[in-house]
């Protein structure tokens, strides 16, 4: 049952948090500590954080700015971003050689006008497969058809598909079926009973919690997850366990 206040009853690891201002959006916080306090308010222990600046303007500059947020022992884990420019891939490869990269996020392909197609992104995708690094890609920023058409060519690539909306309700399950190595992040997936249906269809190990902060408030989806009709073990996996396995290099089980 619900209360007028809320904190997650299981450990929570937010798999989708942006930091810093964007060219067209002011960030609500100035300091990492403020973000950590907001996370703590909802019971979020850790978060993967990417630079909002990298979404639309410069993944490379955004990656450079990320250290200011992730430098301390504050639960903020860097999520480096890659774009279509070869220099962007070289930057990521350099960071990886330094032991800093556990996974990679694709920039906003629509706003950057570089469609997510193999003839542009093959070098990035081939490198990710070779290094067994998961790729985060946003359905809010890259057309679903491009995601599916491109990722089906890389069956060994582990992908986290971010930001499926209720308007994508007819696509989510077919997408997970055609991409057996994909995990769905749930920040915008709020169809009534929709997550329970996905758990039933593909298993909780294919789903992870993310808030998509600051596009979206951090608490509401975590609140919903804590009130799903699912087992506590499934809840724990969705809220933290699955993303921990992904960035630690464990291969996601298929179901």
């Amino acid at each position: 049952m619900s209360n007028l206040s809320f904190t997650s009853r299981v450990p929570a690891f937010d798999a989708n948090v942006g930091v810093g201002h964007r060219n067209n959006r002011r960030y609500p916080f100035d300091e990492p500590l403020q973000l950590v306090e907001e996370m703590a308010r909802h019971g979020v222990d850790q978060a993967l954080v990417y630079a909002c600046h990298g979404e639309t303007i410069s993944p490379m500059h955004g990656n450079e700015a990320l250290e200011r947020w992730t430098g301390g022992e504050n639960g903020l884990v860097p999520q480096y971003m890659v774009g279509a420019d070869p220099e962007s891939l070289r930057q990521i490869q350099g960071l990886h050689a330094s032991g800093l990269v556990t996974h990679v996020r694709l920039h906003c392909t629509e706003m950057s006008r570089t469609p997510f197609v193999d003839w542009i992104y093959a070098p990035v995708l081939e490198w990710l497969v070779a290094e067994d690094l998961p790729l985060w890609v946003s359905m809010a920023d890259t057309p679903p058809t491009e995601i599916v058409d491109t990722l089906t060519g890389y069956p060994d690539l582990r992908a986290v598909i971010v930001g499926a909306h209720y308007a994508h309700s007819a696509m989510a399950l077919p997408m997970l079926r055609v991409l057996p190595n994909a995990t769905l992040e749930l920040s915008r997936y709020e169809n009534t009973q929709g997550i329970e249906q996905l758990v039933e269809a593909v298993g909780a190990n294919r789903l992870i919690y993310g808030s998509f902060f600051p596009r979206y408030a951090m608490g509401p989806i975590l609140y919903m997850l804590n009130h799903l009709s699912i087992d506590d073990s499934d809840l724990a996996a969705i809220c933290a366990g699955n993303v921990e396995k992904l960035i630690e290099g464990s291969v996601t089980d298929d179901k």
């Binding site: 007028l4 209720y166 309700s169 009534t192 979206y216 608490g219």
Partner: protein, 253 residues
């Protein structure tokens, strides 16, 4: 019920819309409501311009769980000759307790006289009227403010509170200028700080919780209110007390 507070969801839909996963599944709706303590959901069918077809479906749906669902009447200026008669039937015979309009399904702005019979009915009966609002040309929230001043006995609920900027600001300004304007919270745009701003700038007594169930799960939309940085007293007003006052119903448990 949450900590003794009756919870009323002011925005929900009847009618299959299967491309978005809406199947008129009352059991799924009640299950989601029960999971978080939502007592009642206000429902309407916006898919039939004659009004009658959808209002009959709404009444039948409400009848499946009359202790959990509340029906609102829907009419459209696409069939203006039906408006007054259908509103009378829906309220007096079907038991609808408020009115829903959806201007994007027509070409007329909310300020166009074609809508006046709807407002006049609400004004005459002292009913609440909720309208979709947002960036659409037919229903930007500043129009609600203009109409609300002309029909002071009706209460106007700004659905989605304008959804996004600059329309959210328009919604707040409409509420500040008119004591009969309320702001409803459901929206797929869930930026941080929105609920806090509505409560701070329009007043906690002028904000009502809505979810858009079943298009959106009421649990995440309720979570917007529960996880917002507002006082428990404000949450109680938003989650139930304001809706009870608007609907003028004595909910005895």
């Amino acid at each position: 019920m949450i900590e003794g507070q009756e919870i009323i969801d002011f925005h929900g839909h009847v009618g299959p819309w299967d491309v978005y996963g809406m199947y008129d599944d009352d059991s799924a709706m009640v299950k989601a409501m029960d999971a978080v303590g939502i007592d009642r959901s206000c429902l309407f069918n916006i898919f039939h311009p004659d009004g009658t077809s959808g209002n009959d479906q709404t009444a039948a749906f409400v009848a499946r769980h009359p202790d959990r669902f509340v029906g609102f009447a829907y009419v459209s200026p696409l069939m203006p000759e039906r408006i007054e008669k259908e509103l009378g039937r829906a309220v007096d015979e079907l038991g609808c307790v408020a009115i829903k309009i959806y201007p994007p399904y027509s070409t007329w702005k909310m300020t166009d006289p074609v809508w006046d019979p709807v407002y006049a009915f609400a004004d005459d009966r002292g009913l609440a009227l909720i309208s979709h609002t947002g960036p659409e040309e037919t229903c930007q929230p500043e129009q609600v403010g203009i109409v609300a001043a002309r029909f002071p006995n009706a209460n106007f609920v700004v659905g989605h509170a304008g959804n996004m900027e600059p329309f959210r600001t328009q919604a707040i300004e409409a509420a500040q200028a008119n004591k009969n304007v309320y702001l409803e919270t459901c929206s797929t745009f869930r930026e941080p700080g929105v609920v806090e701003r509505l409560v701070t700038e329009a007043g906690a007594d002028r904000v009502v919780f809505g979810s858009d169930v079943p298009l959106m799960d009421p649990r995440s939309q309720l979570g917007k209110i529960i996880t917002a940085g507002i006082s428990d007293d404000a949450k109680r007003l938003v989650l139930g007390e304001n809706a009870k006052r608007l609907l003028g119903m004595n909910y005895s448990q």
